[in-house]
């Protein structure tokens, strides 16, 4: 651990160890909410989203370090997915502005953000069921000549590009171990395979920033390990990863930096080891009185809350399966 921290970010990048590089770059960052990063790819300011009387997201300032794996964690209902939707243009913020690579991208539609290299996946996987796996992959490629109406009519205009795209798609399918399913309908894949397909398809876009919304949700433990490895490999290929998760253990394993949200706001930030023991974070997850004795009434209330949360998770899992 100590040796890693003394390696400078530039040295590590040169030697090809991007994990060490990301860690080294973030080692100097003060672990407080809204901390400034040495080389941020995504910067958001005063992002606010209200649903009627409920403020779902109220983020003062947040930066995501380029070339790192940043985890966005928090208990259910903390506003992680809502923040994701705002940043990627799938939802409109009431206030706030944010930049990607220094360019203001507030209010841009999702497809423009994807073209700039900011690609997201979804919590409920969106495999295009009645398209084959390879067609799903091809769809991700950008600037396709054959996607224009008139050019589409003449195959010789787009065929060469299509072959290149197919080649790239086949390589990615092999890497994600989906090559056996190449010509099956995406709807026939298992839940975990769909997650893999969605990630591989996002890579077809050629993104700089990959935003994964709960990539591990509803995936069996064996596949989780493989998914984690794939997430790491994205960073090792030079991409920046921002992902939402609510399982802390999973997060510690792979992330270089952790941002914790609770009740719409960012309550803590820092390297995973430090965030794990942070008082505010534990409070956010377990409630602020978890170490003080409870009155009987409080105990009942917390039990009911926990049960409600459990029920919600079961429903979520069922939806996932459906």
């Amino acid at each position: 651990m100590h040796a890693e921290e003394t390696v400078s970010a530039a040295d590590a990048a040169l030697s090809g160890d991007r994990e060490a590089a990301a860690r080294a770059a973030l080692a100097t960052v003060d672990p407080v909410p809204g901390a400034a990063k040495p080389d941020p790819i995504l910067v958001a300011d005063r992002v606010m989203r209200r649903f009627g009387g409920l403020t779902a997201v109220d983020v003062e300032h947040v930066e995501v370090q380029r070339g790192s794996i940043t985890a966005l964690i928090g208990p259910n209902g903390a506003g992680k997915t809502t923040l994701f939707n705002l940043l990627t243009g799938f939802d409109d913020a009431n206030e706030g502005h944010w930049t990607f690579n220094g360019d203001r991208i507030t209010g841009l539609p999702p497809y423009r953000l994807a073209r700039r290299g900011m690609v997201r996946t979804f919590q409920l996987t969106k495999a295009l069921a009645k398209l084959s796996v390879i067609e799903n992959m091809r769809l991700g490629a950008q600037a396709q000549r054959g996607e224009r109406f008139l050019a589409a009519l003449i195959a010789s205009i787009w065929q060469p590009q299509e072959s290149e795209i197919t080649e790239r798609a086949d390589q990615l399918l092999e890497r994600f171990k989906l090559d056996r399913m190449r010509d099956e309908f995406a709807g026939e894949l298992s839940g975990g395979q769909r997650k893999l397909l969605e990630m591989a398809r996002a890579l077809m876009v050629g993104p700089e920033l990959v935003m994964l919304d709960e990539p591990m949700a509803g995936v069996n433990p064996a596949l989780t390990q493989s998914l984690l490895r794939h997430v790491k490999s994205l960073r090792d290929d030079g991409m920046t990863v921002l992902f939402v998760e609510h399982d802390m253990d999973m997060v510690c394993d792979i992330s270089d930096w952790v941002i914790v949200m609770a009740q719409g706001a960012i309550v803590a930030e820092g390297p995973p080891e430090k965030v794990m023991v942070n008082e505010t974070v534990i409070d956010a997850y377990l409630g602020s009185h978890h170490d003080t004795p409870l009155s009987e009434a409080e105990e009942e209330e917390q039990l009911a809350e926990a049960e409600a949360e459990l029920r919600e998770e079961i429903i979520e899992a069922e939806q996932e399966r459906a």
Binding site: L128, K130, F185, E188, V205
Partner: protein, 330 residues
């Protein structure tokens, strides 16, 4: 029972003008609904603006026939844009509501007496098809094989109509195997996923709506030319629903689905019509059960039964892929 008549009349219907008109309407719906997932319930309006564009152009404004055809097509494009701009950003069902309403608004507006000078009101417009039949290569007479025959005017309409059907099928085939078609099919499955992959979903939906609308408008031209007149009430909502029936019968998202669907649909309608009529006149069905005036309604009951049987036994339609339907059940 005169089986010769039953078969010849049925076959004439299966390849006749109605089959052509509804094939074109259904190809349009297949592009919009089958491939893109857009619920356009106003296909009758696209046919009507095409037909009225032609008729008003020639009969009311005295313009050239071909210029009026262009007016018809331009009107269909304009209608698609007007309907699409407010609704294509919203959920799919809004388009369904707006299109069916727009189709009725158009029909009711052109039949009001206020616009009688332009649209001819409930009587509609006639005498606009002269230029079309002037270039009819078929000489006067009946043409056909055996008992199946058409007159020279119908032959000309059918020739042009089936050529248009072939061209439309070719264009749909070329487009749907291209990356452009892939985007449409992906939008049908999940438009948010397509957005996240850098595609302008709104623009593709609009292109699909326009393309389907223009193909429907070609059906409107054939309708107008085959009868030599346009009347508002021939573009009632059931026209759209027949076209949907045809798409589902043939198999959605299949290039030849609408063609086969339309042929079978009209074959079935005319066949059941003839059987019922002849059975009544021959006394096999007593007048106490039903008489010939009720045949028109009863044959649609039979169509309904046929559709139910189709959905139960072959939900993917004639050309559809059973595996695709199985995916929906997962």
């Amino acid at each position: 029972m005169n089986w010769d008549t039953i078969f010849s009349v049925s076959i004439e219907a299966a390849i006749g003008t109605n089959a052509v008109i509804y094939t074109l309407a259904a190809i349009g719906i297949n592009v919009q609904f089958g491939y893109t997932g857009l619920l356009n319930f106003g296909q009758a309006a696209f046919m009507a603006v095409g037909a009225y564009g032609l008729a008003v152009g020639v009969a009311t404004w005295g313009l050239n026939f071909w210029l009026s055809i262009c007016i018809g097509i331009a009107s269909a494009v304009a209608l698609a844009i007007i309907l699409g701009i407010p609704t294509l950003r919203l959920r799919a069902d809004y388009l369904a509501i707006v299109t069916i309403a727009a189709a009725e608004i158009f029909r009711i507006t052109v039949r009001t007496s206020n616009y009688r000078d332009v649209t001819g009101g409930t009587d509609g417009l006639q005498q606009f098809s002269g230029a079309f039949f002037d270039i009819n290569p078929y000489g006067k007479g009946q043409y056909g094989v055996g008992p199946v025959s058409f007159d020279d005017r119908t032959m000309w309409v059918l020739t042009v109509g089936w050529i248009l059907v072939a061209l439309c099928c070719l264009v749909v085939y070329l487009l749907m195997r291209s990356p452009w078609g892939r985007v449409l099919k992906a939008i049908r499955e999940d438009e948010d996923a397509v957005r996240s992959l850098g595609k302008n979903v709104f623009a593709y939906k609009m292109q699909s709506l326009i393309m389907g609308g223009v193909i429907g408008c070609l059906g409107g031209f054939i309708f107008a030319l085959s009868t030599g007149s346009v009347t508002p009430d021939s573009y009632a909502p059931e026209v759209t629903f027949f076209a949907y029936t045809i798409v589902i019968l043939g198999g959605a998202a299949r290039v030849l689905g609408p063609v086969v669907g339309a042929v079978i649909f009209w074959l079935f309608i005319q066949f059941s019509d003839q059987i019922l009529r002849q059975a009544i006149s021959a006394g096999y069905i007593p007048n106490s059960v039903m008489d010939t005036t009720q045949v028109g309604a009863v044959r649609f009951i039979l169509v309904g039964l046929g559709l139910m049987a189709l959905i139960i036994f072959r939900p993917q339609g004639i050309f559809g892929d059973k595996r695709e339907i199985a995916l929906d059940a997962r």
